[in-house]
């Protein structure tokens, strides 16, 4: 599998979530994702970027365009140095929140993605990786 393009965006403040949506939209458009596919990956990115700001103290988003044979996809990696997630299964459950949100961010982002991976431990920050492949809506 090849990474045909990669860019890193710092996400420190809630207002920058809008910027994340635009950058991810551009990547999805560049791969000629359908409108529904674009909307799903942009919405997932919006949820995870906000989580990173609200719970991780901000972090970095890496946007990668993937090429795997004839498959093309977008991979998003959200990395923060925040407090980490003590119980990942609980955090994925709809309605679970330690903040003021709805608790749909992680579970919702997972449903909107084709691949979803969390690496996190208390005190070691959080890395969430999602992939959406073109033509999988």
């Amino acid at each position: 599998m090849d990474i045909t393009r990669s860019e890193v965006v710092a996400v420190r403040a809630a207002a920058e979530v809008v910027n994340v949506r635009h950058i991810v939209r551009r990547a999805a458009v560049d791969l000629a994702f359908s409108l529904v596919e674009q909307t799903k990956i942009v919405t997932a990115a919006s949820e995870l970027a906000r989580n990173m700001v609200d719970y991780g103290g901000g972090g970095d988003l890496t946007v990668e365009l993937l090429s795997d044979g004839i498959r093309k996809g977008v991979r998003l990696i959200f990395e923060d140095q925040g407090p980490g997630i003590p119980d990942i299964q609980q955090a994925l459950r709809d309605g679970f929140t330690t903040g003021k949100g709805l608790g749909l961010g992680l579970g919702g982002a997972k449903r909107l993605s084709n691949e979803f991976q969390i690496d996190s431990a208390p005190g070691r920050g959080t890395r969430i990786t999602i992939v959406r492949w073109k033509g999988s809506a």
């Binding site: 809630a14 979530v17 809008v18 529904v36 909307t39 919702g108 449903r111």
Partner: protein, 129 residues
């Protein structure tokens, strides 16, 4: 921070969201709407989201909360013009927006507000102050 303009038309408030809102802009719109409902004694609020290509859980919750708060202030809310791709994504995200009345376009949204506020049969634009 941007502010979304709110137009007053008779007993109604009209909002057309034309920008990708950050969270503070969304919350400011909610506050402004509540303040103007009271100031103008508005009976209905129409929010056009046809220009929004993303509605995430924050904006979705803002819309649902706005409708609930307006209800407490004796005003009905209709959200109009949601793009199909946004509707598909919202439901998959887990946000069904129950409690938010919606209509396909502004015209139908206004009809819905009029019929609820003026009662059936007189939804022809007349309104007694």
């Amino acid at each position: 921070m941007q502010r979304i303009p709110i137009l007053k038309m008779g007993p109604y408030l009209l909002v057309s969201i034309q920008v990708d809102m950050d969270d503070r802009t969304a919350m400011a719109l909610q506050d402004d709407l509540m303040e103007q409902i009271v100031r103008h004694r508005a009976r209905g609020v129409l929010i056009d989201i046809s220009a929004l290509d993303v509605v995430d859980s924050f904006i979705g919750r803002m819309l649902a909360d706005t409708a609930a708060m307006a209800r407490v202030l004796d005003a009905d809310t209709v959200v109009v013009g949601m793009q199909p791709s946004v509707a598909i994504t919202l439901v998959e995200l887990g946000l069904a927006l129950t409690g938010v009345r919606s209509a396909l376009n502004i015209e139908r949204g206004m009809d819905l507000l009029r019929s609820r506020i003026e009662g059936p049969g007189i939804a022809d634009g007349h309104h007694e102050e």
